[in-house]
């Protein structure tokens, strides 16, 4: 779609927070426009461990954060049940965890309003037999896991229902500031390079770790200290509940079951640039070694990939007023009104976590609404998001049950590992075309299982090619633009709309996806996953001749491509 000329509020950043802000604005009658430089949820939102916090992780050092978490945890279960798996969670004291933390834990939970019961270790071991039998104490809390991409999609859908709009692959490259106000923003379409301009009354930057870069475009200083967190994806859920270590938060102390996998998080390493970081073997080793204190068999369990996200940690100026991030580096959120730096209609929302994104959005929009003289109250905590199915929370076996009900078998499975049927991919394409295979992955989990794309990538590429062919005659001129809009313009310069051009686009989509999957495998390449990789290379090069494809010898990736290399 084309970029509108005007918006009441321009929201920058298509993570959960930006989506939440857009929804809240829309529900209060403001016409928002959200722009995201890549696909939605490809920044920090799509690159965290998937935990729906109970607040338990904060009860010791930050009771306010804990309170916010438990409140929003309940809200999200109500408004976005389809994205939530009510796994429950446990804080477990490993043999060497310090007593003072453990002894105070239940009281701290109580003080913060986080539901917490101590349960007998023997009972927990019966439920979660993979846990370390030497665990000393165990506390049950209402942790859960949450699917970020589905959450964003539903949140944006609600915003659209209320008259706002969101555009992906649009990067803000400049602001026009007149008389201490941003009057317009310049956008660049990241796929075809088109430049456009949006006139706006207000700008909200929900760009997380990138907030400093956005603020700089308006000559405003925001100091972020991005913290890289690396996570490991295990092939199977060795636990059906979230398991946290009952100690002061550290590396490798949380395991979150998300869909078919379990995610071990995280490390915390300051990085100068949120777009430029590597995952090292040492980090992987440290995570496994810490995680082993919770699950003794962890070193023998299969890791599918590693990924990292950057925490949007905010570094307040030394002379900051109390209330605005009064810790040295805050994991709580802060709303920065840039009026004090001479730009009246610009706020940044920084810090925070996915669990509290709705609250952050509410507080941000409160500031915006006050400035714009809007008095409509916030309704985002009360209204259920669209597309929540029967209102049930997510259940691990549902795909298996659905597929069985559909007849079962492998005939229509494009992705066998994650049980993604052709119908599911077709449905996604109907809604999101044109898009990349990586976008399809975020929407369907295609390619996210043990084979990491070996058996499904060429199938999905075949479907993409078929769709390109199918749309050319029927939709004529507009179709010619679709490949370009996908960022998949034919590198060989075949005649647009020709079969050869479509083939070039399809094989570029295929190679891009395989390259992207490889990046997550490389830091953990060992055992079966390395064997899988070698087998995959044998299939694609040996049997399929991928090395002959025009676009296969990959050009050196640009930094943006590195970035959109995805999570999990």
């Amino acid at each position: 779609m084309t970029v509108p000329h005007t918006a009441d509020v321009l929201v920058i950043g298509g993570g959960a927070t930006g989506a939440g802000v857009l929804r809240d604005l829309a529900r209060r009658g403001l016409r928002g426009l959200l722009v995201e430089r890549g696909d939605y949820g490809t920044g920090t939102t799509g690159r965290y461990h998937g935990l729906l916090h109970s607040g338990g992780r904060y009860v010791q050092k930050d009771q306010l954060a804990a309170r916010e978490c438990i409140t929003e945890n309940r809200v999200l279960r109500r408004i976005a049940p389809a994205s939530v798996e009510a796994t429950g969670g446990y804080f477990v004291a490993a043999p060497d965890d310090p007593d003072d933390y453990v002894l105070a834990f239940a009281d701290n939970c109580n003080a913060s309003g986080v539901d917490c019961d101590e349960i007998r270790v023997a009972d927990l071991l019966l439920k979660e037999p993979a846990l370390n039998p030497r665990i000393r104490r165990a506390f049950r809390v209402p942790d859960g896991s949450i699917e970020p991409w589905q959450l964003i999609e539903a949140t944006l859908a609600d915003a659209r229902l209320h008259g706002s709009e969101a555009l992906s692959y649009q990067r803000v490259i400049g602001f026009e500031v007149q008389g201490g106000r941003i009057v317009a923003a310049t956008l660049r379409n990241e796929r075809d390079g088109t430049i456009s301009r949006v006139w706006t009354k207000f700008v909200v930057s929900a760009s997380g770790a990138w907030a400093g870069q956005i603020a700089a475009l308006a000559n405003v200083e925001v100091t972020m200290t991005p913290g890289k967190g690396t996570m490991l994806v295990y092939n199977q859920r060795m636990t059906d509940a979230v398991i946290n270590r009952c100690h002061k938060s550290s590396d490798g102390d949380i395991m979150v079951p998300v869909h078919t996998v379990a995610i071990l998080g995280t490390t915390d390493i300051k990085v100068p640039d949120p777009d430029d970081y590597d995952i090292t073997r040492e980090e992987v080793a440290r995570l496994v070694s810490e995680g082993t204190k919770m699950f003794p068999d962890l070193p023998r369990m299969r890791i599918l990939r590693a990924y990292a996200g950057v925490r949007p940690l905010y570094q307040p100026p030394a002379d900051a007023a109390p209330g605005v991030g009064n810790r040295s580096i805050s994991r709580a959120h802060a709303i920065l009104d840039h009026g004090d730096q001479g730009v009246e209609n610009f706020v940044s929302i920084v810090g925070g976590k996915l669990t509290t994104h709705r609250l952050m959005a509410e507080q941000t929009v409160d500031v915006v609404a006050a400035k714009l003289g809007i008095t409509t109250p916030c309704t985002t905590a009360d209204e259920v998001l669209p597309d929540q199915g029967g209102g049930h929370t997510y259940w691990l076996g549902h795909r298996l049950a659905d597929h069985e009900a559909d007849g079962g078998g492998d005939a229509n499975l494009l992705c066998e590992c994650e049980l993604v049927t052709r119908k599911m991919v077709d449905g996604y394409l109907d809604r999101h075309w044109p898009c990349t295979i990586d976008d399809i992955r975020r929407g369907t989990r295609v390619g996210m299982g043990p084979c990491q794309g070996a058996f499904c990538t060429f199938r999905v590429a075949g479907l993409v090619a078929e769709r390109l062919d199918a749309q050319t005659p029927s939709t004529g001129a507009s179709a010619a633009g679709a490949p370009a809009a996908m960022g998949l313009e034919d590198p060989d310069g075949h005649q647009p709309g020709s079969g050869a051009a479509h083939a070039a686009i399809a094989d570029r989509a295929l190679t891009a996806f395989l390259r992207e999957r490889f990046k997550g495998t490389k830091p953990i390449a060992q055992g079966r996953q390395l064997q899988e990789l070698m087998m995959t290379n044998g299939i694609y090069v040996g049997v399929m001749g991928l090395d002959s494809m025009a676009s296969a010898p990959a050009p050196a990736p640009t930094r943006d491509e590195e970035l959109s290399d995805a999570a999990r």
Partner: protein
């Protein structure tokens, strides 16, 4: 305890070749394998040596043999007789192969619309080898709704000059998806299901009729060939293929698919049949638990069993368990590459250099060349002494260090040549000194 003159471990091309040659020569050979891998994963052809720029496999072998570290540096001379011997046996099993080391290397279409370099292929793939005449078209035909073969997309891709990498090519490429009776309602639609369908003469007749009509329609009487997914029969492949050739208006060839490879299963079955017919034993599903070594020699191979282990006493072992892909070499999280059965020393690049930054870098990942170094008689070397680590163990196939099987397209040739050489080394009737001095040598001589 049962006794075998030689225990071959691994059911890939190297192990099968070694076992077939040994059995043929009268040795009591037992092949044990954990399961199936490389045969069932590959294209079913014989990639001897098709590095970039080589015109024939023979030339490819010569080039690779010139590299010090490459197995062909000492196996090069065995490739020709070994491949000739193997293809003779395959033909005798009703699975003829076309091509020799002197056959020009050609580019043939693949199932994603690319091309790959081949020279020696099963007969059913051979029609792709002939040079393309100026007026020839290529029809890509496959069952409608089959997710592993997309005729239109493949045709679109093959219509590009670039994928042929400068080789001659068809003047026009057309894709056609053919509706086969009752397929839409099948829950299990995969290569196996289709291959078994073609084994059924009645279903096959109707399917071939539909394919023939579709091909005739799109080819409009022009000359050319037709590319089909490699699913034309399993047990009944020979008859199926003869009928396919007779029925289609253009000359057909099969294009190999993602695993499980039907051409590869045919190859496994043919070789299994040869080994058994010659009195060899094959035990697939046997996980080797331990190899017993005494005074620098293997004396028995012990397999996992429900209770007490299943032991086979033996005079020699051919270790053909594969490289990393086949599971013969295992990488630990600490950056070690381990040969788990005998703890042989593995020659591997430094941990940080295992993989390149780019998945599909044409240079190929350095780790591909990792493996076990041997003397010229295929005995694994002890790096401390530079001598054979074990007197009666011979290493064959993908485990051999120094090959870049994907880039050089030499994996099958190395497997066959080393499997054959391992057998020759163990048999007393060669000019080389036999390693086995036990019952094997004396019994076969007498």
């Amino acid at each position: 305890m049962p006794h075998a003159d030689v225990v071959v471990i691994g059911a890939g091309l190297a192990g099968l070749t070694a076992a077939a040659r040994l059995a043929e020569a009268g040795a009591a050979v037992t092949l044990v394998a954990k399961g199936h891998a490389s045969t069932h994963w590959g294209a079913g052809g014989i990639d001897v040596a098709q590095p970039d720029g080589a015109r024939t496999p023979a030339e490819g072998v010569a080039r690779l043999a010139a590299l010090d570290a490459h197995p062909y540096a000492f196996l090069g001379g065995d490739v020709e007789p070994a491949v000739a011997w193997l293809t003779k046996h395959l033909a005798a099993s009703g699975l003829p192969y076309v091509g020799t080391l002197e056959t020009p290397i050609r580019r043939v279409p693949t199932a994603i619309g690319g091309t790959r370099r081949v020279a020696i292929v099963p007969d059913a793939q051979s029609a792709a080898l002939a040079p393309w005449e100026p007026d020839e078209i290529l029809v890509v035909a496959g069952p409608a709704g089959y997710k592993d073969f997309w005729p239109a997309a493949i045709a679109d891709s093959l219509a590009r000059e670039s994928v042929w990498q400068g080789a001659d090519r068809p003047t026009r490429v057309v894709g056609v998806a053919v509706e086969l009776a009752g397929l839409a309602s099948r829950n299990n639609l995969n290569a196996l299901e289709l291959a078994r369908r073609f084994d059924d003469p009645a279903l096959r007749a109707d399917d071939l009729d539909r394919i023939a009509r579709a091909v005739a329609r799109v080819s409009g009487g022009r000359r050319g060939r037709v590319a089909l997914p490699a699913v034309f029969g399993l047990d009944g492949h020979a008859e199926t293929w003869a009928e396919t050739r007779a029925r289609l208006p253009l000359r057909p060839f099969e294009v190999p698919l993602v695993p499980p490879s039907i051409p590869g299963i045919r190859l496994w079955r043919a070789l299994r049949g040869r080994i058994r017919a010659a009195g060899g034993r094959i035990e697939v599903g046997e996980m080797v638990a331990r190899i017993e070594v005494e005074h620098g020699r293997v004396i028995a191979v012990e397999m996992e069993a429900a209770t007490r282990s299943h032991r086979i006493r033996t005079d020699a072992v051919v270790l053909a368990t594969g490289g990393i892909a086949g599971g013969g070499l295992v990488a630990t999280g600490e950056g070690e590459l381990v040969e788990p059965l005998l703890g042989l020393t593995v020659d591997a690049p430094a941990f940080d250099d295992w993989l390149l930054r780019e998945a599909l870098d044409p240079a190929g990942h350095p780790l591909e060349a990792a493996g076990v170094r041997t003397d010229h008689g295929l005995h694994p070397l002890d790096p401390a002494t530079g001598r054979a680590a074990l007197a009666n163990v011979l290493v064959a196939g993908a485990m051999l260090a120094g090959q870049r099987a994907l880039r050089e397209r030499c994996g099958d040739g190395v497997a066959i040549a080393s499997g054959w050489r391992a057998a020759q080394e163990l048999l007393p009737d060669t000019t080389r000194t036999p390693v086995g001095q036990g019952p094997l040598a004396t019994r076969i001589e007498s």
